[in-house]
Amino acid sequence: MLTTAILVPLLGAVAVAVLGRRWSDGVARAVGVGVTIVPLALVVAAWAAFDRSSPELFQLVTEVDWIPTLGVGYRVGVDGIALAVAGVTAVVFTAAVAHPAETRGIAHQYVAWFLFLESASLGLFFALDLVLFYVFFDLSLVGMYFLVSRWGHDDAERAALKFFLYTFLGSLSLLVGIIALGLSMDPITFDMRAIIDAQPLAAAGHAMVVLVLVLVGLGIKTPVVPFHTWLPAAHVEAPATASAVLAGVLLKMGTFGLIRIPYAMMRETFADAAVVVGIVAVISILYGALVALGQGDLKRRIAYTSVNHMGYVVLGVAAAGSVLTGDEAARGLALTGATVQMVAHGLITGALFLLTGSIWRRTHDFDLDHYGGLLATVPLLAGATILASFASLGLPGLAGFVGEFQIFVGTFAVLPVLAGIGLLGIVITAALFLQLLQRLFLGELPEDLATMPDLDPVERTTLAGLLALVVLIGVAPRFLVDTANAAASILVGG
């Protein structure tokens, strides 16, 4: 089932790229959506088949040898956390492919790269082998490089190159760490389950070096300050739909990896470093929020809020791993919260970036100074933006609140000072989103925007889909929380 979910978009990508040369924009996107429905349905089916009360961390496991002499295999399976992020992956990709975009006469290639990227993303979240994890980690870079460079804005080539080089450096740092982890097993293996059970570096002198290599690799991807500088450039130049995928799915690879590798496989070393990781998280939270507040460019502002929001996730993981025993309930809550926050951020920021795409289609302008008073002109677009913004700033009843609340409650129990400072980030985020809404929709309406058309039916559908889930998770989060908690409670022990 999981393998099919990885393969269908991959084969779909090849098929669309080869067969779709003469397809119109609409046909290519429709076929693309048709393909993305399959992994979406399969993830839902996996969700249904998943046994939340099982004592086994990983379920639905498949295994095939790949490089047996080096202990590398094709191993896939899910725990509650993987299931949650795979779910948001399937949803965001479907919405991003469906959402209108300028495909520059090569719609089939545009759709093919999205499908390729979906395959890589799902593969990464399902991977139970470190090398397989790395394979998909790298493939996501290739896909995003081509999406940004070919369908991005003016300076896209440079931004895409910077993105690829910077994150490739991160992924190779991760690779060295992964190899060290695999070599520490006897016999050598990259099977995640075996490594989680063995905790091979617990007593090793070079464990901290390995941890730093892995953290740098994942930190660049997440990104956390000071490794975030590729992010604004990539987001600003990327087409909005690619930004939605980048923020909604690809950034999760960093934090998901943080849970999978350092947190689960190097508990003792991670616990030693947890306070430092927490401090980096808090810096990201505050820095991301403050810099976002200072941006006059709509897309850049939303891009920086991702630094802030991913900071919460990192803080939650740091809190969950800060001690080896004790405070199980609080640490479990922080880890569950981190997972829920990943899902919420994926949906909310995905929606926000799709909205920037809709605005760009209408005006070709991201400068907030050129906007104002649009509330009455485009009520649906305004309504969707307001809903997504409130969700992003953490209004209770919407998805953003659930994860952040759990993270902070959990963190207060183990790292109270950091939690206290981190809370300031929420205040700044509220200010930056309210000011954003005010500059877009209130005040005086510039003349040239008076005839701006509202959301078309396709845009309405994609945004409604994402935002409905945002509300659903806000109002009835149990289905998500219970699934994430199934993994969290096993991982924190006790």
């Binding site: 590398v72 460079s149 060295v176 070599l183 050598i188």
Partner: protein, 471 residues
């Protein structure tokens, strides 16, 4: 130690030699418009040799022919890699050399060059190693300077020859010093007698052997011929000499160093230093290139640097030799794929001329992108498996700093490969792009498929390449 004189142990090499003789006859007697017949003749000879070599797989490692010829997993895989690489180069030749009156004579040169590399890879005696090196070098000079009327080609051949003459001299001095130190040129004798030899003799002897073989590998300090040959030599020759001698030279180096004591000779430090310099100089020089063939030449230098990481790990990690072989196999396919695309594009060389190739010739563009991403080591392409195995061997051998250097270099290399990708994909093309007939496109297709398949079958290659050295 098992000794043997069975002719079957040399059967693949004999098949290649007979193939060379056969192609020479065809070249002499076939009319000018039938000279291309040598391509199928050469392919048949290679296929027979490969079949015979496959038949030797899995045997007990032996030293054959008075102990001069190692028949083990390393010889088997290296020979098969050399044969496969040669087989991929052959289809590039017929259309490229169709206007050339001496067309048919090119094939015996290719086959003898392959034979020289095979001798290097299996030699267990320094004198025999020199025979292999010289056979490979002499044919290489001819292949590089094939276009007698092209100043570029002649310059490439000249430079190759001058650097080669110097490097072969250094190698010979190294052999002499090694003989002085051990009283023998036979590897098993070196293994037992070099311990305790005066470092003032052993260190220069080892260093000179390393430098002499670095020439074949296209590594620092005898690397300067590589970009010139890549740019100026006929594209099929460039594909051949940046790959086949490299396989022979690096395998020979690994086999030789395995019998030299690492501590008293200091070879591990020497090889590691050469590795870092090679990958760094190759990459930095490639960064600024506006000529794709030159860029591929420098990239081939840097790739030798990564391979040397595995050589530096020989003896310190059991994974080093299999990793080296896997890396060389996947490098060979990727590099030949890239030069095959250049050939299929009729040798176009300026980066600016690659604009819009993706739109005009999507198949060739995809092949070049796949080849370059494989050279970077992007999974799941074959190049990833090669680098992964090399990095693992390096860390396993305690050479983590060297692996970190390779990692940083890998990131740098991505930048210049992407320049070619960006030119093909992102820029519009002012002109139609023509290709050079179906032969070279077939080679492109086969090599590209291999890059994907070898990535998935890397485990099998490592399995075959694992096994003790003979002797």
């Amino acid at each position: 130690m098992t000794m043997s004189m069975q002719l079957s142990h040399l059967a693949p090499q004999i098949a290649v030699l007979l193939g060379a003789a056969a192609t020479l006859l065809v070249a002499m007697f076939a009319p000018r418009d039938r000279q291309w017949l040598n391509a199928p003749v050469a392919l048949v000879a290679i296929a027979v040799a490969a079949g015979l070599q496959v038949g030797l797989l899995g045997g007990v490692p032996v030293l054959a022919f008075d102990g001069l010829w190692a028949l083990d997993a390393v010889t088997n895989v290296a020979s098969l890699a050399i044969l496969a690489a040669t087989a991929l180069v052959v289809p590039l030749v017929p259309r490229w050399l169709a206007p050339d009156a001496r067309h048919g004579e090119y094939y015996p040169m290719l086959l003898l060059g392959a034979l020289g590399a095979m001798v290097m890879a299996a030699a267990t005696d320094l004198n025999e190693l020199v025979v292999g090196v010289v056979l490979s070098s002499v044919t290489g000079y001819v292949l590089a300077a094939w276009h007698r009327r092209s100043a570029w080609s002649v310059e490439a051949g000249m430079k190759y020859f001058l650097v080669g003459g110097l490097a072969n001299l250094v190698l010979l001095v190294g052999v002499t010093l090694a003989f002085a130190a051990a009283g023998s040129t036979w590897y098993p004798a070196l293994a037992s007698r070099l311990d305790g030899v005066d470092p003032w003799l052993l260190v220069p002897a080892t260093a000179m052997l390393v430098v002499g073989l670095a020439f074949k590998a296209g590594a620092v300090p005898t690397h300067s011929w590589v970009p010139d040959v890549a740019e100026g030599a006929p594209a099929p020759s460039a594909a051949f000499v940046t790959v086949v001698p490299k396989i022979g030279g690096l395998v020979a180096l690994a086999r030789l160093l395995a019998v030299v004591p690492p501590d008293s000779s200091g070879w591990r430090v020497v090889v590691a230093t050469v590795a870092v310099l090679t990958m760094t100089i190759g990459n930095l020089a490639a960064l600024g290139q506006d000529d794709v063939r030159r860029l591929l030449g420098w990239s081939s230098v840097s790739q030798a640097g990564y391979a040397l990481v595995a050589v530096a790990a020989v003896g310190a990690s059991d994974r080093a030799l299999p990793a080296l072989l896997l890396f060389l196999v996947v490098y060979a396919v990727a590099n030949i794929a890239a030069f095959a695309v250049v050939t299929a594009l009729r040798g176009r060389t300026s980066l600016a001329d690659y604009a819009g190739v993706a739109r005009r010739q999507p198949g060739l563009a995809v092949a070049l992108i796949v080849a370059m991403l494989s050279l970077v080591g992007i999974p799941p392409l074959a190049g990833f498996a090669g680098k992964f195995a090399v990095f693992t061997a390096g860390i396993d051998a305690g050479l983590t700093w060297l692996v970190v250097a390779a990692v940083v270099n890998t990131v740098v290399s991505l930048a210049y490969y992407l320049r070619v990708v960006a030119a093909m994909v992102l820029r519009p093309s002012p002109h139609d792009v023509h290709r050079l007939g179906p032969w070279s496109s077939t080679a492109v297709g086969v090599a590209t498929v291999l890059l994907v398949v070898l990535g998935l079958l890397a485990g099998a290659v490592l399995e075959v390449a694992s096994g003790p050295l003979a002797g």
